[in-house]
Every structure is written in C-alpha cells, then in structure tokens.
Amino acid sequence: MSQLAPADLITDDWRLHGSIYTSREIFAIEQQQLFHDNWLYVGHESEVREPGDYKTTFAGVQPVIVARGADDGEIRVLLNRCRHRGSAVCHDDAGNANYFRCPYHGWTYRNSGELRGITYDDAYPDLDRSRLGLVRLPRVESYAGFIFASFAPDGASLEDYLGNARKYLDIVARQGPDGIRLSAGAHKLQYNNNWKLQIENTIDNYHFGFVHRSFLDVLADRLGQAPPIMQNVMNNPEWRTIDLGNGHSVHEFGDPETGNNQGQLGDLPFNLIVFPNLCFVGAQLRHVLPKKAARTEVRLYPIMHEGEPDDANAAILRVHEGFYGPAGMGGADDIEVAFDRVGDGMQAIEEDWLIMSRGMHREQPGDNGTLIGHAADELPQRAFYRRWREQMGQAA
C-alpha cells in the first residue's frame, strides 16, 4: 500500500492513487468506514413477502439473512453465522422457513434469531441460550420498498441518509402500475478486481460509445440508422449527471419521470448510484458485493412491473438479457475492459495515479446542494469519491 493516509489518496485536482483499488489494507478500512455505520441495501420487500420468507445476501463482506418473522411479519437482518462454530446457517439464496437449523451440528434458531435448541444438549449445563441467538443488525428500515440495514445502533435516519436520492427511488418504485417486484431473481457475475470499478462503470457515459461500439453497430443494423445515444450524451443538455450529495449520483436521460435511453438498454429513465454499493441501470437493480480488494460479485436483479401482463415482463427480461445478460452484447465487454484490463494495467505501479477530473471545470450548482454536470463527465465518480474520502479520512 502507499504510505499515504486514505484521505490523501485523492488529490484536489482529482487524481486517484491506484492503491484505492489494489490495497488489501484500504479494502479492510473500507469495511470499517463504509460498510458498518452506513445504511446498506440488503433487499426489496417483494423478496420476502410472506411470513417465514428469507433471502441471503451480504452487508459488506458479512453474510446476512433477511427474514420476515414467522408470527409477527417483521423484517429482520441477521448475521448468517451459527453462534456455535461459525457455519453459515442458511445456504440457499431464498426460501421459506420459520426455523433455521445449522447444517454442522444442528443448532436451531427461530427466524427472528433466538436460539431454540441444541442437539444432545446435556453437554451444556450452564450455557446461557438467551445470549446466543443469531446476531441481529440493530437498525433495519425500508424506503419505497427497498430494505436497508446498518451495523450502527445510532446514526442518521434512512431518509436523511438517502437525501436527494429518495426522489429517484420513488420513481423506480412506480415503474409498474402496481409497483415493482424482484421476482425474476438475479444473475451473478464475478470478476477479479475491485468493487468500486463496477460502481464507477454504472454511470460512465464516456466509455459507452467506445467500449460498446459493437453493440451500437448492431443496433444501427437493426434500426437502419445509428441509435441517438451518443449524440444525446454529447449534445443534449437534458441528459445530465447530478451529484446528489452523500455519495449518491444520477444520470438522467431527460425528464427523470419519462426519459428513455432509446438504446434498448432497459426502460429506467436514469442510472442511479446509492452510496456505497447499490445501483440502478437499464431495467435492473444492481447490488455490488465486495469480496476482496481484487474480487467482486455483482448481482443483477431485473425489475419486474407489478400489474403488467406476463408478456410485458418477459419483454423486460429479453431487453435486459440483450445487453447485460451472460450472453448479452454489453456486460461482457465491461467485464473484459473496465475490470479485467484495468486490473492488468494497474499492476504497473511506477506511476500509480489515475485521472478523474473530466469536466470538473463545468460543474454547476443545482437545487438542494446538488452539482450538475455534462452527461459524459466524471461527476458521478467524484460524487462517490468525495464521500469516500470523507468517510475514509475518519479512519484513525
């Protein structure tokens, strides 16, 4: 790692030190500073609709269970770690169970966390079972159906934390006539590089006309003319990036209620980043899961429209797959270039700085403390790293 303190890894003229991406020490500090006290997205209410429903996911690197109480219907977030010898208690991505039984020695918990029983328990005459439930994250709240949790018992409310991003989450939640659901599940991708590269790539119109040129060429063949995406990115003043504050950012394709990328990328009217690791792009919710400094898992959840017929939702899936799917024409290029090739290049550390200053001279103040930038500028990245520097700088 560089000898620089975390806050000094970003310069005032927006150069970023490579160790932000490659250092195991920085990764460990991020888990303390970004993935502990902040509100962390863990799921959508549609994934745990019924009492006893649960899903497994991660809060930072820590495995968690999101479970709806068997008798009270309350949503809880529990560490997915048996209190006995540490095994993950739940294995499946999702299921319905009012009790969880650890696969290692059979310790059994209510889905609200309390330890209910132990196999061959006569060997534990003095064990205080009341203190050995699955560890519950102290704060769990939902906004517009999106469930967030925090390891910190106190702190900003979820509404204050989301701030200017709330308006966009409200719009996502209204995509279907009766709301949305994540009933299509997720497809998962993994790559050997840092998690923040996927966040950066989520709102990076600068790369689109270059990395995804082959996709644009295919669309031009289909449509008989080049799609207007890059013309809009470069010249349409209604397509813009916005630093929403608190690390959040958005790229609007025109009106945030009705805008459209016109490029067969999905029908969300914007791309959105909710700090630190939740994104919306195309027709999907994208949950970015850090694993190691150089290992990331991304889960892509196509957003289904509640109240629309099955064939309309099937059409959403087909468009999503066309660009982002495992055999799609876009996602694989991002993995190859924006993640793998960046990883190859950053092994060269003799001059270990990146440039993230594109368009900083033309940022304009907006309402509610926002900053507005050109569609192809690196304003969303600066929004993210401004918050990153602030929180990482608090590391002792």
Binding site: G52, Y99, G117
Partner: protein, 75 residues
C-alpha cells in the same frame, strides 16, 4: 389406499404428505424423508394445529427433544 403424494422440501427439511384411507377415517400421513419417521394425524389434530403460533411449535423444533437427545436409544 392413499391419495397422491406431495413432497415439501427446503434446505432444512424434507417431508412427504399423503391422505391415508386405510383406517376407518382419513388421516394425514407425514413422512420425514431424512429418517423415514412417520406420523398419522386425524382431522381434529390437524385442525388444532391451526391454533398454534410458530413460536409455540418451538419445542418440536428443539433437536434435543426430537431426535438428537443423548437419552434416546437411537442416539
């Protein structure tokens, strides 16, 4: 005689359900597919289950009470 068989499985349990008609009245036959233990429940017993909360079912979920007790002959 019994009706068609239903199976319910999760990562934690797996059972087969049938309506058994060999007795003088119908019974629900539940077989634990992990150890082949079977219970037959009559309609009143099944109806009474609907009064339970999941919390009150807890004693049956305690493994030391149901199959993993040091005092069981089969343990």
């Amino acid at each position: 005689m019994s009706s068609s068989r239903l199976e319910l499985s999760s990562e934690f349990g797996s059972v087969a359900l049938e309506i058994d008609t060999r007795a003088n009245g119908p019974r629900l036959r539940i077989e634990n597919q992990h150890n082949r233990r079977v219970i037959y429940l009559d309609p009143l017993e099944v109806a009474s289950l609907t009064w339970l909360t999941h919390e009150r079912l807890g004693p049956f979920l305690d493994p030391s009470q149901t199959g993993w007790s040091s005092n069981d002959e089969g343990a």
